[in-house]
Assembly symmetry: C2
Homo-oligomer: 167 residues x 2
């Protein structure tokens, strides 16, 4: 009951607000650049980037969705779009017939290469310009544990599917 303070202290509040505000602004700016340069949304870019980072150039649908924190159905929609543009290919997984493996095509890799410089430029200018090398190191050092912590938290509504008329 009284475990959690009724409010955050001012420093926490500031950090929280700034975090939300900074990423909102950054996302906005990045989105515009991606739209102009390669007609991509941010999610689409994230997907291509993740695939590009993979040694095999592919990932399962579920892993992609979890990776970019997106709904399954939303991912289906986005991968549909990317496939229509010829940027990725879908193929059934060899070891598990249920899984779909999404793979980056050459066109996808090319588009990624085309948008990347501008993307880097925006992020550098907006996010990193006011930060020294040590600042960035400190920031990374602070955020990594938070990310791990969040990823390790139970999903809080991991309610297993309900049986109808159970009980």
């Amino acid at each position: 009951m009284s475990d959690s303070p009724p409010s955050l202290d001012p420093v926490q509040l500031g950090a929280y607000f700034d975090l939300i505000e900074v990423t909102s602004l950054l996302r906005h700016a990045v989105e515009r650049q991606l739209r102009e340069t390669g007609d991509l949304s941010y999610v689409q870019f994230q997907l291509l980037a993740r695939l590009g980072d993979s040694p095999t150039g592919s990932h399962r649908m579920t892993d992609l969705a979890d990776g970019v924190v997106y709904s399954r159905s939303g991912l289906t929609y986005q991968v549909d779009l990317l496939q229509k543009e010829g940027l990725v290919v879908r193929a059934p997984s060899p070891d598990d017939e249920r899984s779909i493996t999404v793979t980056l095509t050459d066109a996808g890799r090319a588009l990624l290469a085309k948008v990347l410089p501008g993307h880097v430029e925006v992020v550098s200018r907006l996010l990193f310009e006011p930060l020294s090398r040590n600042d960035v190191k400190a920031l990374a050092g602070l955020l990594a544990p938070v990310r791990d912590h969040m990823r390790s938290m139970p999903s809080r509504s991991a309610a297993p599917r309900r049986r109808k008329a159970g009980a």
Copy 2:
């Protein structure tokens, strides 16, 4: 023109990715809590919170939109919803007939008070649990300049910004 490096160094990349990932996860968790506790979306909560923070309990539409980094039309839609629920009221601005002043109602303030503890709880648990007091201080110290920097950047093909410090 080719001054910008072709890529970010690994530390920068890590900080950038973690930033995006952390806020995505946090937003997701917060959104669920708000939906369950008060049937509010994150944007709606942000709007109520901003109004609640204001000494007068009100803001102009434009300032709200800029504050939460949202499109004008999107804000119109959201304020419509909030007004239908009786959480805010719209009134023409006294000094500028073009402006609409949005004001928090008692019901809005009550709902805000109702959801706030749970909100604080989620943020504390997810974001601040792995951080020491000094960590939080450091994080706030790093993000504030970035926020200021981003806010001061020209919007890159948007309307000429109108900076107003006073109020």
